[in-house]
Symmetry: C2
Subunit: 353 residues, 2 copies
């Protein structure tokens, strides 16, 4: 196996010094036209290409960016972060970066939670997707490595973030329902401590406020501990048992909860959308296959990944301190779980049975 040529071979063959070759490769300093051409010719002849690790060592950088997420994401059925990752991967390729992927435990453990690529100084910047421990973020931050957070917002706004426009999402949902003639619109949330969910709640609340509608407490459910299907199911039951009349439409914090809610409604004989309209959020695969298909809010995950990489490379170039908060637009997907508010008095009777 014959060795690949090094910069030395190029220099020898072109009868110039190592440094000159380096200058040509990097388009730096002063090199006369003639020697530049000579060197370039030799490079072509030899099929030379600089070796990554040598260059990295000399430049004290890596050409990689790290992608961190908690290890439960990939095992989830919904490929949310997978799509973000792919978007990032493609954008990174454009900027001549490679992405090193790693997963970490949800809870921080200073021994094991530090991704290897950080210890090895093998990344120039880091993408963090979803809710990782703030200790880890702080640790990376303390190493002075640029960070971009995706779909997760920490309180201090020290790092750039790429979020979906949660607020705008529920706003769209409310607008859609208002157009359909609904006035009594509920919100089925889970854990309001989660920033995204809270934003969705706010978008809902503000929109109704602006429409001059006074929200009744009984329209809102936010007692469930999480935002999974089961929580939606439970929340739906709570709705039915609170002694108050149901709103004519419900916006769920996400599709999973909406689907759980839908299931309970179906069991309880409440028809969606005839008796009540229902909107989800996230546009997960299943929201399309459920009966009836869910009206929901979609965000382009691929674009989130792309944008994150673009932001990160800019931070790498411009140095830290460059902070950017980007909201990726969302769109309303109208399917069959929402319908006109025909006559809500009939409905009240229906679900009081």
């Amino acid at each position: 196996m014959k060795q690949r040529p090094t910069i030395k071979d190029v220099a020898k063959r072109a009868k110039v010094s190592l440094s000159t070759v380096s200058l040509v490769i990097n388009n730096k300093g002063y090199v006369s036209q003639s020697t530049r051409e000579k060197v370039e010719r030799v490079i072509r002849e030899l099929g030379y290409h600089p070796t990554r690790s040598a260059r990295d060592l000399a430049l004290r950088k890596s050409g990689n960016i790290g992608f961190i997420l908690t290890n439960d994401h990939f095992t989830q059925s919904e490929p949310f972060y997978t799509k973000i990752f792919l978007g990032a991967e493609f954008e990174a390729q454009k900027h001549d970066y490679y992405i090193l992927l790693t997963t970490v435990e949800k809870k921080f453990d200073s021994l094991n939670s530090i991704p290897r690529f950080l210890k090895e100084q093998n990344v120039d910047g880091v993408l963090i997707a979803g809710q990782v421990s703030i200790e880890l973020i702080a640790y990376i931050s303390s190493m002075n490595i640029p960070i971009v957070l995706i779909d997760y917002d920490v309180e201090n706004h020290k790092h750039s973030t790429v979020l979906m426009n949660n607020y705008r999402g529920t706003q769209l949902a409310v607008e859609h329902l208002l157009e359909l003639g609904h006035k009594e619109i509920g919100f089925l949330g889970g854990d309001l401590d989660h920033p995204s969910i809270y934003q969705r709640y706010l978008g809902y609340k503000d929109s109704l406020d602006n429409a001059g509608i006074i929200i009744k407490d009984s329209w809102i459910s936010a007692k469930e501990p999480d935002t999974k299907q089961q929580d939606g199911y439970n929340a739906a039951r709570a709705f039915l048992n609170n002694g108050e009349s149901l709103p004519t439409a419900i916006i769920a914090a996400n599709d999973a909860m909406a689907i759980g809610c839908l299931r309970h409604f179906t069991e309880a004989g409440i028809k969606v959308p005839d008796d009540i309209s229902l909107i989800g959020f996230d546009n997960i695969e299943r929201s399309y296959h459920v009966k009836p298909p869910l009206t929901t809010i979609d965000v382009n995950k691929f674009e989130m990944g792309e944008t994150a990489v673009r932001t990160l490379t800019e931070t790498i170039i411009n140095g830290n301190g460059y902070v950017n908060h980007i909201k990726i637009p969302v769109t309303l997907i109208v399917r069959e779980s929402t319908d006109k508010n025909v006559d809500h008095h009939i409905k009240k009777r229906t679900h009081h049975k």
Copy 2:
């Protein structure tokens, strides 16, 4: 920003030479218990960790493995290679490798098709998923870089391969149909030149042969140029118009074709599985949502990725020449598109109308 400690700092502080520290880190050569402990203590105190690029340069390796696929895969809706990639990613993590992903054009172009990580000598081995140009494979091979092919088999068996057991898949399908009492079993294939499809065809043919059933030409369709849904649709039409009676069951080369076939049958008033049973292959997402849900053959894609990485790391360690051909097992997923062969004479009448 204070510099991270280097091996030099460790040496100084531990009052030993650079080389001794290196020996300790790598567990090599002779080091007395006492100095070993001393060095290890200092390493801990300083929070030292060797830097990747320096080590790579010295060792002339990279600690990365490349993952190549053609650029159309990720744009396809079916996340087939995505799952393989994730399997590979996780397994790589266990072996302390990072995966560098890249896509290449289907047709080889010596200028642009060479992945950057190859030019930069930035990978110790390469995973190739799907049908990439043989020129590229030959090129990589000529650089003496270990290769493992996934879901693609080139003629010369110079490289390790990880394939799904296509042959076994259609064998399972035939067994299933035989148990249901079918004797007239057709095969709806596309491009038989594709090795995977051909293996599926062989599994079908051999199984019927072994069962003592003589296959009629009219049961087999293999004239379509590709294996997409439209090809299945067209093939189904050809089946109906060939003047012969239909078999009582059909095995399609893949789910896409099966779904196309199903669509045409539905349009033609032929009921699946009442009039004819139908089996797909691949277990794509849609095969589950179609009416009726498709009986099909599933393979664990994640496992394919894992196995490929395991094979590759072994080749990297043991040197080339270590060649392994692995077939990942498949399983039959019985859903609603197959049923007992009740009375096929009635059926014949049905579809002759």
